[in-house]
Symmetry: C2
Amino acid sequence: MWRARQSANASRPACSNWQQVLRPDARFRDQEGICTMMDSAETALAATGDLSLHQQIVNDVEAKILAGDWPPGHRVPFEMELAEQYKCSRMTVNKAMSQLARAGLIIRRKKSGSFVSLPQVQSAVLKINEIRSEIESLGKIYHYDLLERSLRRANANDRAHLDMKDGKVLHLRSLHQAGDRPFCLEERIINVAEVPQSLEESFATTAPGGWLLQQVPWSTAEHTIQAINADSETAKRLAIAEGTACLVIERRTSSNAAHITHVRLTYPGNAHILVARFTPSQS
Amino acid sequence: MWRARQSANASRPACSNWQQVLRPDARFRDQEGICTMMDSAETALAATGDLSLHQQIVNDVEAKILAGDWPPGHRVPFEMELAEQYKCSRMTVNKAMSQLARAGLIIRRKKSGSFVSLPQVQSAVLKINEIRSEIESLGKIYHYDLLERSLRRANANDRAHLDMKDGKVLHLRSLHQAGDRPFCLEERIINVAEVPQSLEESFATTAPGGWLLQQVPWSTAEHTIQAINADSETAKRLAIAEGTACLVIERRTSSNAAHITHVRLTYPGNAHILVARFTPSQS
DNA sequence: AAGTGGTCTAGACCACCCT
DNA sequence: GGGTGGTCTAGACCACTTG
């Protein structure tokens, strides 16, 4: 029933009178009792290590849910109950429960309590690395080639991609190579009105992706992923047979409600694989 | 310099003596002064609405970073400073800053302070819906067909996928259709040792995906995404030409360190597009 | 009407880290 | 050393929801 309270800080002794340390002017009526209980109680959460208390609560509850002990729909103990179990304040429990709610593991309803939520959509975190670091992490030498650079008035396609009315776009086509092999074909348009300094950059040796990240401090991005058959031009550039299946990632980057750039990355065939991982705990 | 403190709750009057309300036994020496300042101060954050205070702080800081006012590497004001600005306790500021740190917008270092982080990897949240709901959300009628169901001893491939030593797997091949058109080809193996009740399910009319989600309450999943050319068998099943580029999503689902199932979903050509969205604020 | 989660406070102690 | 973030508390008020 009662659980040994793990110390929040690594160096805090297991049976130190932490209440006294924390609140020198507090009443100590419970101090001895606590120490006695700690001495006698089995540390049920022995392997929890030196995590913060609210993180331990998160882990414990999460473990219960993952193991199926608490099936979907099950009511998680109230904050007050957990606070009593863990011998901590409601604030600490609340922090843990809020984290679990944000992660989507539980759903919280006032008056009713918190409930284990049903898994609905498989939500996965997809990490799309910078191409350069991705290649270098493979132990290959990164090489970048600019194929085409042109400034033009936005055509219908550009306007649709960048959701703009009129204006100029900088069109860039480039090839990323790993060692001496083509790795990824990049086709990009940049909204010149939003990034005027792009006109002064030749992009002959600087890949536009990393450059833009430095110019536009933070951004929102929308991605689409699809499979296409390589046309003759793509096949030539990527040194693959025409018709080979390619993975195409399109990304539209926005900042402050204005669309900055649109990029289409074409990876040759099944050579490239995206990896995504989903764990309920993260976030 | 000084900012008007937005009330945490919508109904709290702008100039109410909330300190008094919150702490009836507190000293009120500042009460009048606060009200006077509130009356005279411009509400710089007028449009913040009825959000919680820590969420307002999150929004404000995020806006500054997104707009580029605080470029990467810039030091965010210390917790104490922000607490003074917003006329709130450090706890509240801490809550906001912790949230921003979890979202990856800032990096916190003791003694030094918090700094706007450089965007590194494009981390996107990929939502992989249940196939049924995905089809139905398209306004199409969902239809499921079981093509093959067999129980077998795990071969080398199975063992690699499920990271198991020996044992039996249930092998299922099925087709998901939208209206009268093939939508997705599913090939799945289930670790019988982990889900013995799968033997009693025919899967003739029940799609294994949703069924498993109910049996195994929560799970960790690893995904890989790649593009392949359809072989003759796949092409026939999906009613597409041989060699058509297909999007293949493979998912390995685990629970409690044991691998439950491995599924390979093949979507015809560029008909299917995955959409992922990345915003720094979420989480 | 009662109970739950949501939020906030003022203060405290600690580990860590930079100077 | 001193300052920063990390954590925790005991108590408070409020909105919301359900019985």
